[in-house]
């Protein structure tokens, strides 16, 4: 006879959220399993430090566990989850002044065309942007959010978001120009 846990991997996320909200720890565990990779990738883009990214991801997941009951509509979970991730990152910036860590990379060399670990180069390049620029660029390019959605998520004015994305993308292109060369991306991966 199949166990109840066998059904969780096939459950729709909204159903898992409903179960987790009512205290089902196995459903919450399945939610963590499904969301952790996306969350850790997002945090890595934000902070250019894998250990810190994992730590922040755990903080986000603990906030999910503690506050899930406040979520009225299970279907709203993805947006709520994203907001928690962004808020956690902004809190970290405020607490630790992560700008200082990013500043240390200002003297770094430009990424070579065929450097190993393209993701690492991207994270290093992102770390050289201003925190607000980085936040907006990551939410736009990594998460695929619209400018309006980013403005709503970060509480920044729409015009500011657009400016950050435009200037941030320009700066990223400059730093990562080697990757724009024909054949460079294939060589890097």
């Amino acid at each position: 006879m199949p166990q109840a846990q066998d059904f969780y991997p096939d459950c729709p996320e909204a159903f898992l959220v409903s179960l987790a909200r009512s205290g089902d720890r196995t459903a919450f565990e399945e939610l963590v399993r499904r969301r952790q990779s996306q969350l850790r990738n997002l945090m890595r883009r934000f902070c250019n430090d894998n250990a810190l990214a994992d730590d922040l991801a755990q903080q986000v997941l603990m906030k999910v566990w503690l506050n899930l009951r406040q979520l009225k509509e299970p279907a709203a979970f993805p947006a709520w989850f994203k907001r928690l991730a962004v808020t956690t990152w902004l809190e970290h910036l405020r607490r630790k002044d992560a700008l200082r860590g990013a500043g240390e990379l200002h003297g770094a060399e430009r990424a070579p065309a065929a450097a190993p670990g393209m993701g690492m180069d991207l994270d290093r390049a992102l770390a050289r942007l201003e925190p607000e620029q980085r936040l907006c660029v990551v939410l736009s390019y990594h998460e695929g959010l619209s400018h309006r959605e980013i403005a709503g998520l970060t509480d920044m004015p729409l015009g500011t978001v657009k400016t950050h994305i435009r200037s941030g993308a320009e700066r990223l292109r400059e730093i990562l120009e080697a990757y724009a060369a024909p054949g460079a991306q294939e060589a890097a991966t």
Binding site: E29, R33, S37, W65, L122, A169, R173
Partner: protein
């Protein structure tokens, strides 16, 4: 919503940088943290309940106890004075208000059942 145009090279770089991370350790770590938090919350709730109980007992406990003793004495007072002989000892269990109350309640329930065919007590 994909209303804004994005630089295709940057878009491609972001997509390539996205890797599928194994989540076994992180999931175990998060679940372990939730267990610890639950234990702390349970201990906190227990401590709070103890503090409330002790406070209530300190404030009204003695008065409640005195009230309970008074009620108990009132209910067990002999209804008919039979002295201290063997007759008093024989009738001691039923010669008080508590016994009368219990017996009358029992009779009322039996009467109700007889009249309506339904029991008030499950």
């Amino acid at each position: 919503m994909m209303t804004e145009s994005r630089d295709p090279v940057l878009q491609s770089l972001f997509e390539q940088a996205r890797i599928d991370l194994d989540g076994a350790d992180l999931t175990a770590s998060v679940m372990s943290r939730t267990r610890r938090r639950l234990a702390v919350m349970a201990a906190g709730a227990l401590a709070a309940a103890l503090v409330v109980a002790l406070t209530v007992w300190t404030l009204v406990g003695t008065s409640l106890l005195e009230f309970a003793v008074l009620v108990s004495q009132f209910l067990t007072n002999p209804l008919i004075e039979l002295g201290e002989g063997w007759l008093a000892l024989v009738f001691l269990p039923v010669n008080n208000l508590a016994s009368i109350l219990v017996a009358s309640t029992k009779l009322a329930l039996m009467g109700w059942k007889k009249l309506t065919g339904a029991s008030l007590v499950r």
